[in-house]
């Protein structure tokens, strides 16, 4: 496929890896924020191609992984109601809540449907007026605009049987939270290109300047990721900090202004709990006053849940890059994708699942 295959070219990947090897003179820790990038790094075995001086540490950028247990419990409670169709992305179905998961609820007869787009959930509401259709919305700034669009369309079409359980999280506050902890070991960030396709690059400059480190906006294919690493290493070796856009075919500095305007209209920022990490100020969206009618938490008067006990799952340490999945005692034994103990093993973008699936293989380059 055009604009994908070119960036999986083995020759270019190996050439970039050699360039990085020539540039690097000391040890650096680079965190890729986004789970999609973690997935690609494992799939294409990029860790093995990089010089030993470079450690890639995997960040919290898996929205499914960080969705608080309380939200999963809310979704399950909603799915158990009569005449409710609960919709979400496929990834959410297997995430364990405190007592059950959505797939189990579906097997028990709950009307739970996977949709490709939140816009499909709006259509479902339009054609099933005798049912309440609820969309369980997770994702970063990449996904939130599509949800905002769905809510705006539902409002324009006067669909009173549509509501949304909003669990969106935002990337810059999470980066800021990671950098504010005293024991972090991050020298540079690869920032998620698809978040920046919407939000642009301006939110990252103040963070890079405050913490004096490089933040490189990076794509998701192997060539893109190595180019991001190359630019980060170049800046680190020269003692420079700031932002660099390595994904300019997709990301423009201003981002997608119209999508940003819609986000401002439909959502407001609020403190949000990140599963495994804890509360982060202004790191999540809730519906603005003009759209609060569509808030499933308010419509169904959902009560605050209890904090979860994670047992021996160390998802928090994995999500903040303090431990690798393979350092967890449960990894690959009591915790496997078919029987996940924590969210990073559930989602295909979770670091634990990526490690499990792509253990040592570079067969996926072309």
């Amino acid at each position: 496929m055009k604009h994908i295959d070119e960036y999986r070219d083995r020759e270019l990947v190996e050439k970039l890896a050699r360039k990085i090897g020539k540039e690097v003179t000391r040890n650096w820790n680079i965190m890729e924020v986004c789970g999609g990038q973690t997935h690609a790094i494992m799939k294409y075995n990029l860790l093995q191609l990089l010089p030993p001086e470079i450690s890639l540490i995997h960040g919290p950028g898996c929205p499914v992984c960080v969705t608080p247990i309380e939200m999963i419990d809310h979704a399950i409670a909603l799915a158990r109601l009569d005449r409710v169709i609960l919709t979400s992305f496929g990834d959410m179905l297997r995430v364990p809540g405190s007592i059950s998961d959505l797939l189990t609820e579906k097997a028990r007869g709950g009307d739970i449907r996977m949709v490709y787009s939140p816009l499909d959930a709006v259509e479902l509401a339009a054609s099933n007026s005798e049912y309440e259709v609820i969309f369980f919305a997770v994702g970063f700034e990449t996904t939130a605009p599509a949800v905002a669009l769905a809510i705006q369309q539902a409002k324009k079409r006067n669909l009173n049987n549509f509501s949304v359980l909003v669990s969106h999280v935002l990337v810059p506050p999470a980066i800021e939270a990671l950098l504010s902890s005293a024991d972090h070991r991050i020298d540079a960030f690869l920032a998620a290109g698809h978040v920046c396709a919407i939000m642009g690059t301006h939110e990252y400059l103040p963070i890079a300047e405050k913490h004096r480190l490089p933040i490189v906006i990076t794509g998701f294919e192997p060539v893109d990721i190595l180019m991001g690493i190359f630019h980060a290493i170049e800046m680190l070796e020269q003692g420079r900090f700031g932002i660099k856009n390595s994904y300019s075919r997709i990301v423009k500095p201003e981002g997608n202004q119209k999508a940003q305007d819609l986000l401002k209209e439909v959502f407001v920022e609020e403190e949000r709990e990140w599963r495994g990490i804890g509360p982060i100020p202004l790191s999540g969206y809730i519906l603005s006053d003009g759209y609060s009618n569509f808030d499933a938490v308010k419509r169904y008067k959902l009560k605050k849940g209890i904090a979860a006990d994670y047992g021996s799952c160390m998802a928090g340490l994995v999500l903040t890059g303090r431990k690798r999945p393979s350092e967890c005692i449960n990894f690959g034994t009591t915790c496997i994708p078919e029987r996940p103990m924590g969210a990073p093993m559930v989602s295909s973008e979770g670091a634990c699942a990526a490690y499990y699936k792509y253990h040592r293989s570079s067969a996926n380059l072309q």
Binding site: K19, F89, I250, K252
Partner: protein
């Protein structure tokens, strides 16, 4: 989750001004994608799509420039 894929626009339907849509080809599959936020896209152009919406247009010139620069990049500097 943040999986967003480039696809080629095969047709555009602006008959509903509130909801402009494009039919977009991704390899062997074609999907209807909202182009609400990209006013000026044309048939034949590539967009980056995510959960039913087009996030941005792929800048072909930029892509070509970067790839050529990478291919021509010398090994020793």
């Amino acid at each position: 989750m943040c999986l967003a894929v480039p696809g080629k626009i095969v047709s555009i339907d602006r008959s509903n001004p509130d909801s402009p849509m494009a039919s977009v080809q991704f390899g062997a599959t074609t999907r209807d994608i909202s182009i609400q936020w990209l006013a000026d896209v044309k048939v034949g152009e590539y967009i980056l799509a995510h959960v039913g919406t087009a996030l941005s247009k792929v800048d072909e010139e930029d892509a070509m420039f970067t790839l050529n620069a990478l291919r021509e990049m010398g090994e020793i500097e």
